[in-house]
C-alpha cells in the first residue's frame, strides 16, 4: 500500500550555524523533503523544552533541534547549556514513555548544507515509517470528561 502520510516536522534551529547551513543547502541546490517548518532562534540555548512539548501537543509528528557544533557557538556556550537540557529532557520524556525517535537533535554548522539535507531526509523517512505521532489524547482521558 502506498504510504501517503506526510509528517509535519518542526525544526528549531540556531541562527548562526544550522539556519545558515540550511541556507547553504538551498544555495547549493540540494533538494530535501518539504515537510520541515523551520523556526529560527538566536541560539540553541534559547530553545525552551516547553516549545518541544507544545509542538508535539499542537500536532507536530517530529521535531528537529539543531545548532552549532560544540565550541562553535556564536555565544560561546549556549549549545553546551542546550545540550544539558536535551540530555535531561530526552531521558525524562523516555521515562514517561514517550517515543523520542521523533525528536532529533543534531549539530549542523554553516558549512554543512549537505548534512542538513541528510538529517531532514532521514528524519522524514523515519517518521513516515513511525506514522502519525502518538498524541497525548485528551479524548482518551478515560475519566469524567471522556464522554465529551
Amino acid at each position: 500500500m502506498e504510504n501517503t502520510f506526510e509528517p509535519k516536522i518542526v525544526a528549531y534551529v540556531c541562527n548562526w550555524c544550522t539556519y545558515a547551513g540550511a541556507d547553504l543547502t538551498g544555495t547549493s541546490r540540494i533538494k530535501y523533503a518539504a515537510n520541515v517548518r523551520i523556526v529560527r532562534f538566536p541560539c540553541t540555548g534559547r530553545i525552551d523544552y516547553n516549545l518541544l512539548l507544545k509542538a508535539l501537543a499542537l500536532g507536530a509528528d517530529g521535531i528537529i533541534v539543531s545548532g552549532c557544533h560544540p565550541n562553535d557557538c556564536h555565544y560561546t556556550s549556549g549549545n553546551f547549556h542546550a545540550r544539558r537540557r536535551w540530555i535531561v529532557f530526552k531521558q525524562m520524556m523516555e521515562y514517561m514513555g514517550y517515543d523520542m525517535r521523533r525528536v532529533k537533535f543534531s549539530w549542523v554548522s554553516a558549512a554543512e548544507g549537505a548534512k542538513w539535507a541528510d538529517i531532514v531526509n532521514t528524519t522524514v523517512r523515519e517518521i513516515r515509517e513511525l506514522g502519525p505521532a502518538q498524541r497525548i489524547q485528551n479524548e482518551e482521558f478515560r475519566m469524567m470528561n471522556s464522554e465529551g
Binding site: 499542537l58 478515560r142 475519566m143 469524567m144 470528561n145 471522556s146 464522554e147
Partner: protein, 338 residues
C-alpha cells in the same frame, strides 16, 4: 420497604450501563478510591469510608468547555455545548453527605443567574447513594446537617444490612423509575430500623453556633494561629464536594479552540490578584479564613447554604494536617459570643 442483594445490585448497575447511561462508581486506583465511569461492575469497590475525589465531578467536572469557537476570516463562529442534551448519568456509591453536597452544589449554581450546563447535568443525573456503616475521625457530617443515613439529595439510598444485602429507600421519581423498571431485582421486606446498621458520628460542633460566632470573628486571632501550617495548595478545595470556585481559560490554537471552565481554589495566592498587583487576600491566613468563612458564614448568610457537608475529605487530603473539623470546634469553643 425494598431490599436488594449484592449480586442484584451489580446486575442493576450493569443493566443501567447497558441502557447507555453512564454509570459512575467508586473504583480503586492505586491506594485511593475514585469515582469513574464503569462499563462492567467488576472493578467497583465497596470497602471505602470516603472516596478521595468527591462525586461533584458528575455535576461540575474538573474541566469542561463553556463554548467553542472558530475564526472564519474576520468572523467568529461560536458553538454552545449546552445546546446538546447532557448524557444520562447514574452516580453510584456516593455517601449521604455527598448526595447532600450535590444537591447544594446544584442549588448554588442555580441561584440568581442559573448555570444551564450544571442544571442540565443535574436533571440527567440519578444518585444511588450508600449509607455509611463505617466512619473515621475526620467525618463530621452530623455537625453540618447531614448524617450517615441522610436521604437528602439521593434518589435511592441503600443501607447495607445482613446477608450481603441492602435496604433500599426509593426517594424520588427518578429513583422510582429505576426501581420500577428493574423491579425483579428488588424484593419487599418489612420496615427496618436502619439506624442500627449505621456508623456513629459524634456531633463535633453546631454549625448554627459556628455561623453565629463567625459573623463577628473576622478579625479574630484564631485565623493567624491555625493557618500557619497551611502551605496554600489546593488539595482541600479540589477534593471538596462543595467547593465551586472555578477559573475560565482558553484552549486551542490561534484559529480554533474552546473556552474552558476548570476548578480553582480560593487558597491559591493568585486567585484574587488584581492586574495592578493589589491582592485583597495577600496572606495565607486571609485565604484560609476566606475558605472557612465562605463555607460557614458568608454563604449561609447570603443563601442559607452551608458550604460544607462534613465529609472530611479536606482533612484527609491535607499534606500539613489542617483539620477543618478541629478548626471549627476551636471556633465553637474559643470565639466569644457577643
Amino acid at each position: 420497604m425494598k431490599s436488594i442483594t449484592h449480586d442484584n445490585l451489580l446486575k442493576l448497575l450493569a443493566g443501567l450501563a447497558d441502557e447507555g447511561k453512564i454509570v459512575y462508581a467508586p473504583v480503586r486506583k492505586g491506594q485511593k478510591v475514585f469515582f469513574a465511569p464503569v462499563q462492567n461492575m467488576q472493578p467497583v469497590v465497596f470497602d471505602y469510608i470516603q472516596t478521595t475525589e468527591s462525586p461533584k465531578l458528575v455535576l461540575f467536572p474538573r474541566y469542561e468547555p463553556l463554548i467553542s469557537f472558530e475564526y472564519q476570516g474576520k468572523e467568529v463562529k461560536v458553538d454552545d455545548p449546552s445546546a446538546a442534551a447532557p448524557a444520562e448519568r447514574v452516580l453510584f456509591g456516593s455517601r449521604p453527605c455527598d448526595a447532600m453536597a450535590l444537591k447544594r452544589l446544584a442549588e448554588f449554581f442555580d441561584r440568581d443567574i442559573p448555570d444551564a450546563l450544571i442544571a442540565g447535568r443535574q436533571k440527567a443525573l440519578t444518585v444511588i447513594s450508600m449509607s455509611c456503616i463505617k466512619a473515621d475521625a475526620d467525618c463530621f457530617c452530623t455537625s453540618t446537617g447531614s448524617s450517615p443515613g441522610d436521604i437528602c439529595g439521593s434518589d435511592i439510598l441503600l443501607t447495607p444490612v445482613e446477608n450481603n444485602g441492602y435496604a433500599a429507600e426509593i426517594l424520588t421519581g427518578k429513583g422510582a423509575s429505576i426501581a420500577d423498571r428493574c423491579s425483579s431485582l428488588f424484593s419487599e421486606i418489612p420496615e427496618i430500623r436502619k439506624e442500627q446498621y449505621l456508623a456513629k458520628v459524634e456531633k463535633a460542633f453546631s454549625h448554627e453556633e459556628v455561623r453565629k460566632k463567625l459573623s463577628h470573628a473576622f478579625d479574630h486571632d484564631i485565623w493567624n494561629g491555625a493557618s500557619l501550617r497551611c502551605i496554600g495548595c489546593g488539595a482541600c478545595a479540589f477534593v471538596c464536594p462543595m467547593c465551586s470556585c472555578f477559573d475560565i481559560q482558553e484552549e486551542g490554537t490561534a484559529k480554533k479552540g474552546s473556552r474552558v471552565r476548570c476548578w480553582d481554589s480560593c487558597g491559591f495566592s493568585l486567585f484574587t490578584l488584581h492586574t495592578s498587583g493589589h491582592n485583597p487576600r495577600h496572606n495565607q491566613s486571609e485565604r484560609w479564613r476566606q475558605r472557612v468563612m465562605h463555607k460557614f458564614s458568608y454563604q449561609p448568610e447570603a443563601a442559607e447554604l452551608t458550604g460544607c457537608v462534613g465529609c472530611g475529605r479536606c482533612s484527609r487530603a491535607c499534606p500539613s494536617d489542617m483539620n477543618l473539623k478541629e478548626q471549627l470546634q476551636d471556633i465553637a469553643a474559643n470565639v466569644e459570643t457577643v
